[in-house]
Amino acid sequence: MRDVIIIGCGGGGPVMAKELAAQGLDVLVLEGGARFADPENEWSRLDNDANNPTSGYFRVGPSDRSKPPYIRSLPRPSYVWQVAGVGGTTLHYYANNPRSQVGTFLGYDGPDKDLYDTAHLFPFSLEELRPYYEWVEETLPVRPAPIGTKENVFFRGAEGIGLKVNHSKEPRRFGYRAQQNAILQPGGTAGKVKDPQYPEAQGCTMCGHCSQGCSMPRRAPRNLKAKRSTDNSYVPMMLTADAWSPGGRPAELIADAYVQKVITEKRNGVPTAVGVRFQIQPEGEHYEERAKIIVMAGGAVETPRLWGNSDLPNPNGWVGRGLTDHHLDWVVGMFDEYTGTSRGQNSAARTDFPGYGAIENVGFPPGLNAFAQTYSDNGFSGSKRNGSPATLAGADSMGRLVGDDLRSMMSNVDGILNCLVIPDDDVEWQNRAVRQVPDLVDTNGPIARIDMMHRKRSARTYNNREFLAAKAVQLLRAAGAKRVHRMDWPPLILHSHSSMRMGLDPSNSICDEWSKARAVDNLYIADNSMLANGAGGSNPTLTTQAIVTRTAERIMTQHFGGEPWVKGNAPVSSTDSRISDAMDAIAA
């Protein structure tokens, strides 16, 4: 019997594991995807080999790439961009770590408070969460991103549309800033040469491959790889908790272990989580393991699926409902000058529009740029439109780019600049991720199904997207773009949240304000699904990790007789040399 079993080793699960392992609990982490223990050799960092949605090494599927990916029932058209493996979707992520917008919290009383999704606020104040934000920001650590050419071009555009710089972690007015991100700042030869090596180079080497997994600088210990995806930060910490935390106990990790059921028993008439069943993928043995506390951290799609497959109660019908995805869009500008879009950090600059969302600059190698430019809900550019309600928003053209249009836009990958439009979108009952009904089954049970009413979003969501798309077009023109194209993406679900949301109101939430499942005892949720809303258009992971830290403290104090440890203390950084040494010992 374990103290705690954590299902999923992505953005949230390892945070819970690290905090509780540091307190000396017996923690087991089960991850359905690959281990990725040797990234320098395992990750080619090539567009298709890494990012192909069905066969790439970053996909949702078992580690054996000759086997098909896990199949979901998806809305049409759409694409869900997640990764199964130790690190989860943070393997892909750009490590942007803004705090949730101030108006998404209970008690916010600013003059713009009505601009937010006021029916679905976080069930606590920003002041309550601040110490946990600070704790995670110091653990990862989070700092302002370094600037390269594409950031300079982006900032020129931001200035050109009248925005002012605002470095604040909690912006309350429109402005631009370097991303607060969790990528170690460049030191030594990093960012200065093409072939940097640790220890001469430290931190980000500006290689441009955040999307293909960060294994740079070469030869650096795992916890000193630049990008703080959890595989490089919280996972090394959870595995070495005895080395850096007095009384700590290393968490145990099993990869390729897919949990198919949360086991419950009735205690005092209340369903109570007591264990899990899992299978080694793709066709290995089945196991059952018990624990005092079960934590679901499979992400905003798989957590509601597992909930359904475990026949857990759904008294208010909100399981899987209220999925937010930021209703993303993409605007690209073509320049006569070098923009450096394929180089440097994939996303290091942003503009904030509190109450509306944000726009960030994103750069890629050519394959992913072309992927982004051929994905549209608006038909082929220059041909018939597809009935989408999106407008040109001032752009020269809209829709999928193919043929001469694609060749011209892509003739110089370092002569384009991309804007990712990230609206603050509403929690809506209609949008959901659930267990497939009626059942279509894979080896792990009935598959997940996603419904996203893309063309029927709330008026606020739609208007925020149009507002931001127009700002992106203006920004690119002000930066000097010769041609601006809007994609009008279908759902590209890479920020997925709030499908098992926390809230004050039991009639429209699954978790209470401590991320504990209301309907099941001893069961907590520690991934994006428990977020109360879409974080105001802020990239979600930092907020998830801060809330998970708060929940870890709650579990320790409520169930294991511990004392709180966050307020008034400073955390050990994930870059600590004790972690590097202990990881070396594990590898040896």
């Binding site: 090539l46 567009d47 192909n52 949605p53 066969s55 790439r65 098909p68 029932s73 998806l74 809305p75 049409r76 058209p77 700092r143 370094p146 390269g148 950031e151 470095h167 604040s168 972690k169 800033r177 370097a178 040469v193 093409k194 940097p196 180079a201 980000c204 500006m206 491959h209 600088p217 990869a255 793709p282 066709e283 043995e285 089945h286 059952e288 450096g340 394929s342 180089r343 050519p366 394959g367 072309a370 992927f371 994905y375 038909g379 041909s383 018939k384 193919v402 043929g403 060749r407 892509m410 110089n412 990958v413 370092d414 009626p438 279509l440 089954v441 080896t443 792990n444 009413m453 759902p491």
Partner: protein, 298 residues
């Protein structure tokens, strides 16, 4: 670390394992059933309604995905078949061949679907559409570019490989080759014949590749619009075909050895996108905005 320690309690499978063999068959069956329904070929239905060898009924009807509602303010479009009378027969022949393969795993493939180039030509035709070049497929579509294009870049290969792994066919112990791509090659052919029946005459084994560029676009638009694919597990991939090809035509695939997962040279797509190539680093670090390297807490 990845093998479960003995301390864990092994249990007997819960009954999901027996579904494994029939899953992919079920998924592909959805595709074909959707098309069958689209063209009113009800006579093919009984084939799907047989329980599979594993005792799992592969076709479980799904409630439709409501995610692509009609645009606001417009009356719903009348139901439309992508096929005319002539091509219904062609579809029946192709679909039967596909189904024979799928459901039985043994039936020899008939006519054009058996052509070794039937699948390759479909996806090379798609790659040439997404990025024309100086290849034969681009010439056939009457839209070319004086230099390598999507075909040379391996865009067709990427699309085919992606579909095959996404929709492989596994019947019991047997895994049949190229079925996902075969399914889509048949779908592309079928819609092609509704756009231009004369496309059966041409240099390529799949009529889609014999079309002009503009007609290819019409075929892909019809594929995107086919309402019958709503609610199928592959509906999203029908819309993603062009996007996967987009990734492919700008990817490393022309110079990538899938066995070693190493580059064998510089990919052509890197030349025509003026890409500096994969690197461990770039001298791109200029400094910090306003020199700010740390932001104080509020």
């Amino acid at each position: 670390m990845s093998t479960p320690p003995v301390a864990l309690e092994r249990v007997v499978p819960m009954g999901t394992a027996e579904f494994a063999g029939s899953l992919n068959l079920a998924v592909l069956t959805h595709t074909f059933l959707a098309l069958v329904q689209a063209v009113g070929l009800a006579q093919l239905r009984p084939i799907f309604e047989q329980p599979s060898r594993n005792g799992y009924l592969p076709f479980a009807p799904m409630s439709p995905h409501p995610s692509v509602p009609e645009p606001p303010g417009q009356p719903p479009a009348p139901p439309r078949s992508p096929l005319n009378g002539h091509s219904r027969r062609a579809f029946l022949a192709s679909a039967s061949a596909g189904l024979g393969l799928l459901a039985l795993g043994t039936v020899p493939v008939t006519a054009d679907a058996a052509e070794p180039r039937f699948i390759e030509d479909a996806f090379a035709g798609l790659a040439a559409f997404v990025l024309p070049g100086n290849d034969a497929y681009s010439k056939q579509q009457k839209k070319t570019f004086p230099g390598p294009g999507g075909v040379a870049a391996g865009g067709g290969v990427v699309t085919r490989e992606s579909l095959d792994i996404y929709v492989p066919i596994q019947v019991g112990e047997k895994i049949l080759p190229a079925p996902g791509a075969l399914g889509y090659a048949i779908i592309l052919k079928t819609i092609t014949l509704s756009v231009d029946p004369l496309a059966v005459f041409g240099p390529f084994a799949n009529p889609f590749a014999n079309l002009t560029w503009t007609k290819k676009r019409t075929v892909l638009e019809r594929l995107e619009d086919l309402p019958i694919l709503n609610g199928s597990t592959i509906g999203f991939s029908a819309n993603a075909l062009t996007t996967i090809a987009g990734l492919g035509v700008y990817s490393e695939r022309s110079s990538f050895d899938p066995r070693t997962r190493q580059l064998t040279g510089r990919p052509v797509a890197w030349d025509y996108s003026n890409y500096g190539g994969r690197s461990d680093g770039w001298p791109e670090f200029i400094g910090y905005l306003d020199g700010v390297t740390e932001v104080p807490n509020p």
